[in-house]
């Protein structure tokens, strides 16, 4: 897809390259603590549920993509010039089956409050941008 005006793009860091590379392949890879079994989003150098184990205490696991809507806002006033052509759009926090919250957009749904229900089932949509990044968005399952 082509952006008419520049949007802020992710600036991946060494600990998050695997996440962003996974999205390019339409896969969601998350970090999980080997000791506690807890997933975390976003990727970090260590697990915040078990920092003492260091980087070796983390394993990468592919997420199912099953998700629920946790909360949302319908954005009418673009907060950045890059989004002027997109309003109204749905900003959302989504809860993955792995019990992490992910910031995202809901797409493929007319942006009206009555079309969105907290707890509604969602599935991922991988949006490949011209600049080489893939964003993880969601639509109704």
């Amino acid at each position: 897809m082509t952006n008419a005006t520049p949007k802020p793009q992710p600036l991946p860091q060494p600990e998050s390259d695997r996440y962003w590379d996974g999205l390019k392949n339409e896969e969601i890879w998350l970090q999980r603590s080997k000791a506690t079994g807890k997933f975390q989003f976003y990727p970090r150098q260590v697990s915040i549920s078990d920092p003492e184990s260091g980087p070796d205490g983390i394993e990468w696991v592919q997420a199912s993509g099953n998700a629920e809507l946790f909360t949302f806002s319908i954005v009418h006033a673009a907060p950045h010039i890059g989004f002027v052509g997109d309003v109204p759009y749905i900003a959302a926090l989504v809860q993955l089956e792995e019990d992490v919250i992910v910031p995202t957009n809901i797409v493929g749904i007319d942006p009206e409050p009555e079309n969105l229900r907290i707890g509604m089932a969602l599935q991922p949509v991988f949006e490949h941008n011209d600049d080489g990044h893939t964003l993880l968005k969601f639509t109704s399952a």
């Binding site: 909360t71 806002s73 954005v75 006033a77 997109d86 919250i101 910031p103 957009n105």
Partner: protein, 387 residues
């Protein structure tokens, strides 16, 4: 964990002796942010019968104290640029109290100046933060979107209609206070419930009238020792209790969208002050959005979770009501340059010193000032009082 016993010994060991705004608030394109710092500093020092040469400690946020001190031409012996959003200035009060009591300094100046309206010297954003990496690409940028998502979650937990009514009550009662404040942006502009409901959407569930102003403004506070406070020509206000902290930066990392850090800073500040919520005569609660007030009142402990709508019902918080709230007209209707927290302190001090003009409360002896910064990220709470 905070040592409450030691904090109680600190209670009252420094006083606010001067407060001031910059000369003109609102649309002020002819002045730089640092000019707002400077004007407010001089006004607050004058209120305290002091001069810039008396200042030996400087606190600011959004700017480095290096730049502000250089601009003012002062050489502080204690310096603190703690910058955790609009709550920072409330947090500076606690830091000034500790520094004065410890002997690092005697006259602390806290300044703020920002040209949010005229967009002079906009603040740079760091593209390396996780917020920039994981939220901004989705248009989750800046306060309205983030606070709106938190408000929507609150509606899910406690009821949409009830929440909507509470947000409208706060917008209208705050406007009524602004109508009594000659410095308020909306001093001459009344607002009705219909105006609220008919105002455009910014980020649903927020109407325009749920959102704070964006203005050009500055403010400053002068804090000193109890001994030097005796000379203050306009009276002094004791700093009785304080709490600060934060639990996330970006909204997607907030542990519980309906419970901000005021859950800790409120009880700590009151316990340090040795008072309870029923003792409080005035609540100055940072109102970046109507929702911020609603959730802050609950988090602080003025009422239980989900009970905020009852606390603000039927214009109880308006002039003449039982629960005076944001009597300057707040960020919603008085001024909000971008980091409003310092103005909660300015108004609390004025009410406690009996300098609030037409909006002056009867028997105002104890006030809570509460700042929320970032994306519901940080809070600072102080309890202020007079004899």
């Amino acid at each position: 964990m905070p040592n409450i016993q030691r904090l109680q010994n600190l209670s009252g060991q420094a006083h606010i002796v001067g407060v001031g705004e910059s000369n003109k608030l609102g649309k002020v394109p002819e002045k730089s942010p640092l000019a707002h710092h400077s004007e407010a500093a001089i006004n607050a020092l004058d209120d305290a019968s002091m001069q810039l040469s008396d200042v030996d400690a400087l606190f600011t946020a959004g700017w480095s104290t290096l730049d502000v001190a250089e601009y003012l031409g002062i050489q502080p012996r204690y310096t603190d640029s703690t910058s955790v959003g609009g709550s920072s200035f409330v947090i500076h009060v606690a830091h000034a109290l500790a520094a004065i009591a410890a002997g690092y300094c005697e006259v602390a100046l806290i300044t703020h100046g920002q040209s949010g309206r005229s967009d002079r010297a906009p603040m740079a954003r760091n593209p390396g933060t996780p917020m920039a990496q994981f939220e901004a690409p989705y248009g989750i940028i800046g306060p309205p979107v983030s606070y709106a998502m938190a408000a929507r979650r609150y509606m899910h937990e406690y009821g949409e209609d009830r929440t909507r009514q509470a947000m409208a009550e706060i917008a209208i009662s705050t406007r009524k206070w602004a109508n009594l404040n000659p410095m308020a942006y909306f001093h001459d502009v009344p607002a009705t419930f219909d105006d609220y409901h008919n105002s455009r959407w910014v980020a649903w569930p927020f109407h325009l009238l749920d959102c704070c102003l964006v203005t050009d403004a500055g403010a400053a506070i002068v804090i000193t020792t109890p001994e030097r406070a005796r000379n203050a020509k306009n009276g002094s206000v004791k700093i009785l209790g304080a709490g600060e902290g934060h639990d996330h930066s970006g909204i997607s990392q907030m542990p519980d969208l309906t419970r901000a850090f005021g859950r800790n800073t409120g009880p700590q500040a009151l316990e340090m002050a040795g008072v309870t919520y029923s003792d409080i005569d005035l609540a100055m609660i940072y109102d970046s959005f109507t929702y911020t007030v609603l959730v802050s009142l609950e988090n602080l402990g003025f009422c239980g979770p989900g009970e905020g709508p009852d606390l603000v019902a039927s214009q109880r918080t308006a002039p003449g009501g039982e629960f005076p709230l944001n009597t300057n007209g707040g960020g919603l209707s008085y001024t909000h340059p971008g980091m409003y927290g310092i103005f909660t302190l300015v108004e609390a001090a004025r009410q406690l010193r009996g300098q609030a003009g037409e909006r002056q409360l009867d028997n105002c002896n104890l006030a809570v000032a509460h700042g929320t910064g970032g994306l519901l990220s940080s809070t600072g709470t102080v309890v202020l009082g007079v004899e």
